[in-house]
Symmetry: C2
């Protein structure tokens, strides 16, 4: 060999060894079960998308700096999808006439971002995407927030483990209107509010003052009391009524950890009203798990009529950290239930025939064709965490029996074929 190849994966992406893959599949299965309970069906798409799909909304800078974008040999610019929303919008726009609304779709795509890897931010991760299209009123927002909370509960989390921060773009717009802010001021103030949790009170106050001048102190005081803020905007305002209705509806549906968070802005431009994020309450992992909201203008890009839409995304990396911190990660159990191994000289064909017989009893069975010493077989099974070994020697062949060893209890029993399945399936 000329050169020894490196065995590391590409920077910022993960190899999924069987235990990692098993965990990912466990996450996906739990998520699928819960979203399907709510009537959502799964769709998928390629990770390759035309770059213009992202340029339109995110702008040139984000596409060229933060995504994997390259020219194919047909001179087409291709991007490895950094998010799923443009894809789902594209697919719905394409088939809008053939689809039935309200439309409930979900997917579990892998997404790519070109950034320096750090905890919770890899170059490739998986993300649950849930979208509800065609529901104009608040019941859509209520449904997706209820669903998001239920997903975490399906993993065994309780309401103390996470908090659902909600805000309303329309409510904030009404507030900004009362202060007669122009669009530049709105933009700046939104950015300051978005950063509030990360900056000191002094800096926050000073930054607001810079934009609002003499109106600043009244504005700032509203962010010290949510009741005052709602009062100030006014109980007769549609956005306030809606917002209170949202929180009350969720409470009726047993979702009680909802907190009005007027500083929640969310980065993307496409949100039009309610926005929400779910945060881990653990101080060790104080990060956003879900983010979503309402975005009614998404299909405009494709020349389609507007279509009301609410949805959210949840990444696998942050979910795994959440489950770790709250001790909710499941313990790995391999799909393989037992290993069949020879004692002495048993022909490979006899071994294969017996394996076939045991599999017919419903056992997921590997064969250790090359096994020499029982001690080695046991060592191998323990390494792979396979709970049973079935030994087959001349004696077993003669009597048509199997010697089953339970590696946990260390119990060994010689039984017939039907009992093998019984022992293994009822352990």
């Amino acid at each position: 060999m000329v050169k020894k190849l490196d065995t590391a994966p590409y920077k910022g992406v993960r190899d999924f060894y069987p235990e990692d893959m098993w965990l990912l599949k466990h996450l996906f299965a739990t998520i699928r079960k819960e979203v399907e309970r709510f009537g959502y069906v799964e769709y998928g798409a390629s990770i390759l998308e035309p770059a213009e799909l992202y340029r339109a909304k995110s702008g040139e800078e984000i596409v060229s700096d933060q995504t994997y974008t390259f020219l194919d040999r047909g001179e087409r610019e291709v991007t490895l999808r950094p998010e799923m929303t443009p894809t789902v919008a594209r697919m719905v726009a394409d088939q809008k006439r053939n689809l039935s609304f309200p439309l409930r779709w979900y997917s579990l795509p892998n997404l790519f971002r070109y950034e320096n890897p750090q905890r919770g931010r890899l170059r490739e991760h998986y993300q649950l995407n849930v979208d509800l299209f065609g529901v104009t009123d608040l019941s859509g927002d209520v449904e997706v927030i209820e669903l998001a909370a239920n997903i975490l509960k399906a993993f065994g989390a309780s309401e103390e483990d996470f908090v659902i921060q909600v805000n309303s773009r329309k409510l904030m717009e009404a507030l900004f209107a009362r202060f007669e802010l122009n669009s530049n001021q709105i933009h700046t103030v939104s950015k300051i509010l978005d950063k509030k949790a990360k900056i000191s009170e002094e800096i926050f106050d000073a930054s607001i003052k810079e934009v609002l001048g003499e109106k600043a102190s009244e504005f700032i005081s509203l962010f010290h009391s949510k009741e005052k803020l709602l009062d100030f905007v006014g109980a007769e305002e549609e956005s306030v009524k809606n917002f209170i209705n949202l929180i009350e509806s969720l409470s009726s549906l047993n979702v009680n950890n909802v907190v009005f968070t007027p500083t929640l802005m969310r980065g993307f431009d496409y949100y039009t009203d309610i926005v929400f994020e779910i945060f881990d309450t653990s101080p060790e992992n104080n990060r956003s798990l879900f983010g979503g909201g309402r975005y009614d203008n998404l299909l405009e890009l494709f020349g389609n009529d507007n279509l009301p839409a609410v949805g959210f995304g949840m990444g696998d990396v942050t979910l795994i950290h959440f489950l770790e911190v709250h001790n909710l990660l499941p313990t790995y159990v391999p799909e393989t239930q037992a290993i069949l191994a020879p004692v002495g000289t048993i022909s490979p064909l006899t071994l294969a025939e017996r394996a076939r017989d045991i599999r017919k009893e419903g056992i997921r069975l590997a064969v250790n064709q090359n096994a020499k010493k029982p001690a080695d077989i046991i060592k191998g099974a323990l390494k792979a965490k396979i709970p049973f070994i079935i030994f087959l020697g001349e004696d077993e062949i003669a009597k048509n029996t199997y010697t089953v060893k339970n590696l946990k209890t260390e119990e060994t029993k010689t039984v017939n074929k039907e009992e093998v399945a019984q022992i293994i399936n009822t352990k």
Copy 2:
């Protein structure tokens, strides 16, 4: 809007609308069940790999002409994986000491090839990859071929629907040695044999003559009788014994559609002994479904000791065509079992609360919050192929009942909550 975006996917890749996704998941579930019965566990990896991983075996030309390869901003060359074998070799080489052999691994990756899309050849497809590491003797080859056949049988195929072509590199090497071919001649003859099915007998004969001269006619005659070929190489030859043993063992395991095909060469350089391909027997879809064999030198690239390995790959696109042609495609049934819809003015919250109650009974339920006329609700359900509608009007609210419509039988029944689940789950 400045410009209307196109709704088509990138050229040569597929959008998976819910029915397509459902089919893909059905394929994956059937495959997973069968390979796990044989003790294989699933692994995964990123689609991004360092380009050098493919250069080493496939050569510069294939990497730059047939793959998606680009420079990242760290000047690293990245390739979207065109096949899974280099990745699995990399992962096994990295963790060899911590793994337990024989090692049974499978994966269901998406793979990328830069080529002009045509039937059965897309730029992105999914492929089952099965690898058995650490079995030196023939029992490994027998196992993976038995498994490959069982996968098609798990989809409902019978042995008449497909044929398993097998050959042995070692047997062919013994044959070439008897003709005293040098390595250049072996290379050329292999290419001619590989093309035999696609060229006329005259061209085949002439091409062989060009390489073999006066020895050609004897050589050619061996390809008219497989028995003669085996006799010629010699019954005492290890490779012949092995090969006959393989076919007999498979027959004992109830795999009877195995055909010795001395022209089966398989493109890749890494095969070292037994190779096989499974072909659809239908004249409408006469193409390879599975391809695999033994490749014992794969880990050399990583400076590791050799590790015996056998395995195969099977693509989703050709599998779907196979199932289509043999009428084995399943009928789509959406995950969603029923739609809850209001009759008259029912508050959205009441609807959501009732939905929660029905879901607790184990029903996967969508809600049609915006529904106006029952006829529209029925139309929407039929479009989405959802089999039941649960109507909720003032009468039902007052009596705490539900009116369930079965869209297939058109039967309507007003029942209590427990009966809703009974009707829907036993349809």
